[in-house]
């Protein structure tokens, strides 16, 4: 069974979001990393980039496919997990911890209401 921590928010496109005051940390879910299998390449957004909610801003690739990672919220990218580029296996082994992708400033708190709860996300992946 995929892990779905209660305290996080989720998207239909399998990103997770951790809200910490004005900062949101974003990564891909345990379910997503399992579907992808071993990650072989990752492209992250640069610091300072302005991204709209729903915009593709990272690419994660396995042997088989390239998948876009969408920004669940609008705002500026304030940090990218460059250490992840040295050890992509962290995306597979620690998706909610060391496998985080990027952090952004939250520009519109209302957008948080559009995110899914752990319970709702669980419904989606279980069909």
């Amino acid at each position: 069974m995929s892990k779905i921590p209660e305290e996080l928010k989720y998207t239909k496109t399998h990103e997770w979001v951790k809200i910490d005051g004005e900062i949101a940390t974003i990564g891909i879910t345990d379910h997503a990393q399992h579907e992808l299998s071993d990650v072989v390449f990752l492209e992250l957004p640069n610091k300072g980039r302005q991204v709209n909610a729903g915009e593709a801003c990272a690419v994660v690739e396995s042997h088989k496919t390239a998948s876009d990672v969408y920004s669940p919220l609008s705002g500026e990218v304030v940090d990218s997990n460059l250490e992840l580029l040295n050890d992509l296996s962290l995306i597979n082994t620690d998706p909610y911890g060391k496998g985080w992708f990027f952090k952004r400033k939250i520009s519109n708190h209302k957008e948080i209401e559009n995110l899914l709860s752990a319970k709702d996300y669980k419904k989606i992946i279980n069909g």
């Binding site: 390449f41 042997h63 390239a66």
Partner: protein, 384 residues
């Protein structure tokens, strides 16, 4: 309730895949395992020990009758008359323009009886094409084309495959190549062996670049053998392997895949498969165009390339550029991945003949960024 909205076909080993926790995908209308654990794990198991694949989705045709050899020589590019009972060859089926309808394996089971293994995605097209060819060849001729029913197949691939087959069916053959045991089969040989009460055809062929065997039999026999192979294979590090690993393994070995390197707009000569076109055997479908290409040359060629810098993995459809021709791409990627064996991006693709020499530097356009690559000699991987 079990939901199968697309009415996907299932192989007789479907239940085994479920029990093994496989992730299943729609492949050419079949619900097939793409991976059981991880692609990397399965790929490396085949390269270092042994893996087992369900290949029951592939089409198994039987072409028989007194004029079956002449018919196949007319329908296919390779020379079937060179096959004795118990021998097999790779071949292609072309349209009149020399475009590839399918690539396949022809096994001569006995005189006037051939087993033909075709791609799952092409089985229906192949059968209707073969019947059309038969109209031209002569409906009155003694040729029968049948799609085998209730059949299944598995591939055991990797250097330990021979150790498993030795313990699985340690007995002399009863048909096909006369051997004392299946381990004695040479590459491209096939023979029948008794398994319980029914027989199983075993060939020394595969699609991974490793030594290995393919087993063809009825569903019941294959289900039974699947369990036995696992039991015996444990000591040799066997793992079930899915379509994901099958694709990266074949790509490292530079085996073409229909829908990627091969389609009706590419010829065997353009694909670099001229070795499997027998011009000296007489008339066959596509010969005129292929002979012209052989004498005058081709405009595009299927090449293998490796990335020279860190980049996203190349994928089918990415444009290929060359610095000598700046205005337009010189070709297109047909297959690509991150190679599990070499840990770099590799691929195959078609490029214009003038930039197709080994050593030529290329650039692969990946989402608008160009990354350096180099044409290399095929295959990337060759077993020791």
């Amino acid at each position: 309730m079990e939901i199968n909205p697309k009415q996907l076909k299932r192989t007789p080993l479907y239940q085994k895949h479920i029990e093994l926790g496989a992730k299943l995908v729609d492949f050419a209308g079949w619900e097939m395992p793409v991976q059981y654990t991880t692609l990397l794990d399965e790929h490396l198991a085949v390269r270092s020990n042994v893996g087992i694949f369900d290949i029951s989705h592939m089409g198994q045709l039987i072409v028989s009758g007194k004029e079956s050899m002449q018919f196949l020589n007319y329908a296919l590019t390779n020379d079937v008359s060179k096959l004795s009972p118990g021998e097999a060859q790779y071949s292609l089926m072309c349209n009149k323009k020399g475009g590839v309808i399918d690539d396949l394996y022809v096994y001569c089971l006995k005189k006037n009886r051939y087993l033909i293994i075709v791609n799952a995605s092409r089985t229906e097209t192949d059968i209707s094409h073969l019947f059309q060819v038969l109209e031209v060849f002569g409906k009155d001729k003694d040729v029968h084309i049948d799609l085998t029913q209730n059949s299944a197949a598995v591939a055991i691939q990797g250097k330990n495959a021979v150790k498993i087959i030795e313990l699985l069916l340690n007995q002399p053959s009863i048909d096909g190549a006369p051997v004392k045991s299946p381990a004695e089969l040479k590459k491209n040989q096939i023979a029948a062996f008794l398994s319980d009460k029914d027989h199983v055809w075993v060939s020394r062929t595969g699609y991974t670049g490793e030594d290995g065997f393919e087993l063809f039999a009825t569903s019941l026999i294959i289900i039974d053998l699947w369990d036995k192979i696992f039991e015996i294979g444990k000591q040799f590090g066997i793992k079930p392997a899915g379509l994901g690993a099958r694709d990266t393994l074949r790509l490292e070995a530079c085996y073409p895949l229909y829908g990627h390197e091969l389609d009706e707009n590419s010829t065997p000569l353009e694909a670099g498969l001229g070795f499997f076109v027998a011009f000296d055997k007489g008339e066959f479908i596509g010969r005129d165009v292929l002979f012209k290409q052989k004498t005058e040359g081709v405009n595009k060629r299927c090449i293998a390339f490796k990335m020279l810098q860190k980049s996203p993995p190349p994928r089918q459809g990415y444009p290929i550029w060359n610095c000598a021709v700046e205005t337009n791409p010189v070709g297109i990627v047909t297959s690509g991945t991150h190679s599990p064996t070499f840990n770099i991006g590799i691929g195959m693709g078609y490029v214009r003949t003038e930039v197709s020499a080994v050593g030529t530097e290329l650039e692969i356009d990946i989402r608008g960024n160009r990354y350096k690559a180099e044409i290399v000699k095929k295959p990337f991987y060759k077993k020791q």
